[in-house]
């Protein structure tokens, strides 16, 4: 007992600063890693297996007489693309890189007289003779990314994003007039709508991720995107509350509307990606049916934005801004999707959309609470009916569109 006290007193005055104490383990780890690397992992020896060669095809473009694949080395070892076989015949090609290290990407431009509407199997042969197959189910020329094309994608994004959301916001005068009880049902409806979108985006993200590079995270990217978006929006929400004071903020609901708009915007970014990439591979007919489907589908999103501000509507300019925040990302998404679609990025963005929606649902829950003799409750017959109606509306309108 005595000795221990003495020791502590001795070290007391000469104590190291806290930052150094924090740094020492880091330096030790760094030097251990360096030594391990220099000695080439003493005692472990080489890996017993042969090279693991994996390539993910991230993007396919078809131009007259040429098939262009963007590939990424998805495995741990170097990959050398030695030959390319298209539909059981060797084909001439050029590669932007001779050999691909881990996570490296390259463009393979394959000279091939492909014809519109045919199916192609592109087989990449590596230097060890291993093969990686890539299917092109229907060959359609990739649209040239010129000004006209970006204009078309912008128009498409406007039709399916900005326009329907803004139209949906025209429900504002209606929601202002209705009884608070009905407003709560409407908010429950909004939660139902958003809940459906979150599920939809998650499933879509998982689907898309399966087609991309697994080394970059694959399906995990959906959840990474979701968690990041959720946390960021939570932080933004907390910051808004600090600025305005909780009571004021809750009363005018404007920050909730902003958060809803951001979440819906993220979701529409993913939707735009899907539309743009589907259009680029010729899997989408730009018909009136599609636009009508999306209009109905996304109009309800406008309702979700205005419902929280029913009691104290903001200025027209502010409403327009909310509409743009929620709808315009569809244009951006369509551009990215059609010109630089990347499964990993799409999965991340779709996940972010879902995470944002979950955060917004959490924001909206207090607005549907009703007082009872014993306290408050969010789930009661009217609110549940509203939520289910929201689900039903989006389920039904989603049947109109398939991307």
């Amino acid at each position: 007992m005595e000795a221990r006290t003495a020791t502590r007193e001795e070290t007391g005055p000469g104590r190291l600063p806290a930052w150094l104490l924090g740094l020492i383990p880091l330096l030790l780890i760094a030097s251990a890693v360096a030594a391990f690397a220099l000695l080439d992992g003493p005692g472990l020896g080489d890996r017993t297996g042969p090279p693991v060669e994996e390539l993910a095809v991230e993007r396919t473009e078809l131009h007259p007489g040429e098939i262009e694949l963007s590939v990424r080395n998805d495995g741990p070892d170097e990959v050398v693309v030695s030959q390319v076989i298209v539909n059981d015949g060797f084909a001439d090609f050029t590669s932007s890189k001779d050999s691909l290290g881990r996570l490296d990407s390259a463009k393979l431009a394959v000279r091939y007289p492909w014809t519109e509407g045919s199916a192609y199997n592109v087989r990449i042969v590596t230097s060890t003779g291993a093969t990686i197959d890539h299917e092109i189910p229907v060959a359609v020329e990739t649209p040239e990314s010129d000004l006209g094309f970006y204009g078309l994608m912008a128009l498409l994004g406007f039709y399916v994003g900005v326009l329907p959301v803004t139209l949906g916001m025209l429900w504002l005068p209606f929601v202002r007039r209705i009884d608070p009880r009905w407003l709560r049902v409407l908010m429950a409806l909004t939660i139902g709508l958003l809940g459906f979108l979150a599920i939809d985006a998650t499933i879509e993200g998982i689907d898309v991720a399966a087609g991309g590079s697994q080394a970059l995270g694959g399906t995990a990217l959906v959840f990474v995107g979701g968690i990041v978006a959720y946390l960021l929006l939570t932080a933004v929400e907390a910051w808004l509350q600090d600025r305005k004071g909780t009571d004021a903020a809750r009363r005018d609901g404007s920050h909730v509307a902003l958060l809803v708009a951001i979440a819906i915007g993220l979701h529409n970014l993913g939707e735009g990606l899907a539309i743009g990439s589907a259009y680029a591979v010729g899997a989408l007919a730009l018909g009136a049916f599609l636009v009508i489907g999306f209009a109905l589908h996304n109009t309800t999103e406008g309702l979700a934005i205005v419902a929280p501000v029913a009691s104290r509507p903001p200025s027209l300019a502010r409403l327009a801004l909310l509409g743009v925040i929620a709808g315009a990302p569809a244009i951006l998404g369509a551009w990215i999707g059609a010109s630089a679609f990347n499964s990993s990025l799409a999965a991340l963005l779709l996940g972010a959309g879902a995470g944002a929606i979950v955060q917004v649902i959490q924001q909206l829950v207090p607005t549907i609470r009703e007082r009872t003799a014993t306290g408050q409750r969010a789930l009661y017959p009217a609110s549940v009916a509203g939520i289910l109606a929201g689900f039903a509306i989006l389920y039904a309108t989603s049947l109109l569109i398939s991307v």
Partner: protein
């Protein structure tokens, strides 16, 4: 957007496993016989003119433009294999008969079957196909076979001979384990075009890896003077999915597209054509703008057909005789378009 399936993944691992086995084999005692060494030195000291690859585009079929196979590293050149007949060493026995002797050695090593694509092969005398062994009807043949490979092998000859000389596991000389040697001895009978190959299980793998060659027994009276060529139709399953990725005659895909076979106008050309192709049911040979006499198995001196296309199943073979009346380039290829596009395609250049 496809990635490697599990099966393809496993398949992609296999070649390197083979390569590992080769690396471990450093100290095997079997030196390749003199003839194989000579061939090797020849290809390395007198390099061919640069080979220009051509893309498989509407204008010209082939591999990636600019790529070429390193024939020096392979140790053999398809153009040299074409007219390379191994007559072995002969001496006269007391009885007056001719004894003809060869030495064959099994080895493992990488062979470049398409530009940049290495195949972990098993070979006779370091080449695919193995040497085209050539004897005359009635001679006594003696083949010393040493196994320098990491795997058990045999040589199974087509022909008429005693059971113990058949190169079959469990019969007679049986399996030749790594590091061991045996001597096959039998009569050259009957005359014709035959083949030899390894007969160890799994049979398909031992053949697909490259263990085969042509075995020619000339008739006593010989055949008319001709520009003689041997073509062994084969293929390579580089990803081990039991289907071939590369098809060829004499191993290297499109070899005779890049380096056409030069023949003289109106000269008799005799092609010893053997099909050893594994995994596919049949193979075929078609020559453009010409017809040939066909002698199936070469066991008759009378042709049975005058045609421009024949087909052979695995192990089937026959002799083709033709003259080119016109100058210029004439294509020959498997008349299975898939095989042709995957490498089994070449040119005669008549001058």
């Amino acid at each position: 957007m496809t990635r490697l399936s599990r099966r393809r993944m496993l398949a992609s691992l296999a070649p390197a496993l083979g390569a590992g086995a080769v690396a471990k084999l450093g100290g095997v005692n079997f030196a390749p016989p003199a003839s194989a060494q000579d061939a090797h030195e020849h290809t390395t000291t007198a390099p061919r003119p640069p080979v220009h690859g051509h893309g498989n585009t509407p204008d010209h079929p082939g591999f990636q433009t600019g790529g070429s196979v390193d024939h020096g590293a392979n140790g053999f050149h398809p153009t040299e294999l074409l007219r390379d007949f191994d007559h072995g060493k002969t001496r006269r026995l007391a009885s007056g008969r001719v004894l003809r002797e060869w030495e064959l050695v099994a080895n493992d090593g990488d062979i470049e079957v398409a530009p940049g694509v290495k195949f972990p092969a098993w070979t006779y005398n370091g080449r695919i196909p193995g040497p085209a062994l050539r004897a005359r009807e009635g001679e006594r043949l003696r083949i010393r076979f040493g196994n320098g490979s990491a795997h058990p092998h045999t040589i199974h000859f087509h022909g008429i001979h005693p059971a113990e000389m058949d190169g079959l596991p469990g019969v007679g000389l049986g399996i030749v384990e790594p590091g061991k040697a045996v001597t096959y001895e039998f009569d050259a009978d009957p005359f014709g075009l035959h083949l030899y190959h390894c007969h160890v299980n799994p049979l398909a793998e031992h053949i697909a890896r490259g263990m085969y060659g042509a075995f020619i027994v000339d008739p006593k009276e010989g055949r008319p003077e001709a520009d003689e060529q041997v073509m062994v139709m084969n293929g390579f399953d580089t990803n081990f999915d039991l289907e071939n990725e590369v098809y060829a005659v004499n191993t290297v895909g499109f070899a005779y597209m890049n380096d056409p076979i030069r023949v003289r106008q109106n000269e008799l050309v005799r092609i010893y054509l053997v099909n050893v192709l594994e995994f596919d049911q049949i193979n075929s040979f078609h020559v453009h703008a010409n017809f040939f006499d066909y002698f199936p198995t070469g066991t008759s001196l009378e042709p049975v057909e005058f045609t421009d296309t024949i087909m052979q199943c695995q192990g089937q073979r026959g002799i083709l005789e033709l003259r080119f009346p016109h100058k210029g380039k004439f294509m020959f290829h498997a008349h299975q378009s898939e095989f042709a596009q995957l490498g089994w395609m070449g040119l005669f250049e008549v001058g």
